[in-house]
């Protein structure tokens, strides 16, 4: 049986983190696949830390706030140390749905893919509402990714992703601190790994605020496109 770990970054998620953990416990009781989880508490200023301690949720408290990239990488380092076969990134705010975990893990289990991304924009499963401008932004980022590595990625900012052991080792050693989702996808494709996008539904957020704010969206897009172009210039080996 392959060891599967959910990496859950959490920054000020006191409203949702316990609910997410209970859902994982329920999932493990109802399914034959066991999901271990590790919450990375990214220096939360609210009661997230207390909730994690009181309910004995497996977690790592970062001694300083690192931002999403540094927090998620800590999870990959943990997965690497504890010898996990598959790691799944899962949001602590409750917008990801556990019932799609199987769909993400399956292509890795039967070794048809190395990296699987849960996407709101394929297969028409999702009823997720995004603004027109945001969709345009995602299309532009998608175009840049296609241009640099030849892979057509639809949901560029999805943080619901699963990867195999080889990629865990890679991420444990090197992971971008800024804009990690689109950037790592390009890197992974350029290194010659097999990437797959599968349709998932994402729920409205239970609490907390998204790490992407509306007024920062344009700045975010420009930065991501530039970063992708820079990676386009680099050479990678598998």
């Amino acid at each position: 049986m392959k060891k599967v770990l959910l990496i859950i970054p959490a920054y000020n998620e006191e409203d949702s983190i316990l609910k997410v953990y209970k859902e994982i416990k329920k999932y493990n009781e109802e399914n034959d696949m066991v999901l271990d989880c590790i919450v990375i508490n990214d220096g939360s200023k609210d009661k997230t830390g207390e909730i994690l301690d009181q309910n004995k949720i497996p977690h790592i408290d970062l001694v300083e706030n690192l931002g999403i990239g540094g927090a998620v990488q800590t999870g990959y380092k943990y997965a690497y140390e504890k010898n996990y076969d598959i790691a799944i990134q899962f949001d602590g705010d409750g917008q990801h749905d556990l019932k799609y975990v199987k769909k993400l893990v399956e292509p890795i289990m039967n070794e048809t893919s190395d990296f699987v991304i849960g996407s709101r924009f394929v297969e028409g499963i999702s009823d997720f509402k995004t603004s027109f401008m945001r969709r345009v932004g995602i299309k532009i980022i998608s175009f840049f990714i296609h241009m640099t590595c030849g892979f057509k990625l639809y949901d560029t900012t999805s943080g619901f992703r699963a990867c195999n052991k080889e990629i865990i080792n890679l991420f444990a050693k090197d992971y971008p601190r800024e804009y990690p989702e689109p950037i790592t996808t390009v890197e992974i494709v350029k290194r010659g790994f097999k990437v797959k996008e599968v349709g998932v539904n994402m729920k409205e957020r239970m609490g907390g605020k998204s790490s992407i704010h509306t007024w920062k969206d344009f700045y975010y897009m420009v930065n991501v496109c530039l970063s992708i172009l820079v990676i386009g210039l680099r050479r990678y080996q598998k």
Binding site: H59, I60, L62, L66, G70, T74, K77
Partner: protein, 114 residues
Amino acid sequence: MSKNLTFFVLFFAILLFLLILYLLKKNKISVRYSLVWFFSSILIFIISLIPNLMTHLANLFGFELLSNMILCMFIGILLLITLALTVMVTGLKRRTTLLIQEVSLLKKELEERK
């Protein structure tokens, strides 16, 4: 270069030199990073001591005003120094990230063994 300007630049160079010495003595900057500032202060000192050197250079490079060339020179030097600092900050950020991650992982490991 006019006499007034020469004096002004000389004064500035000496001030910079003394300031760096002071910072070094107080252990506020390391010798390694102070070198570039020492060199610049000495360079400014020498330049201001050689009469007409800068005027000739300005003519050679096509600057109509000597002060323009000096300004351009300083902006260029400052740009390079800031660029070097940005590179250093990036490196430092990578290292602090690594430290925070490793310390946090170790703390977790410790708690598990308790």
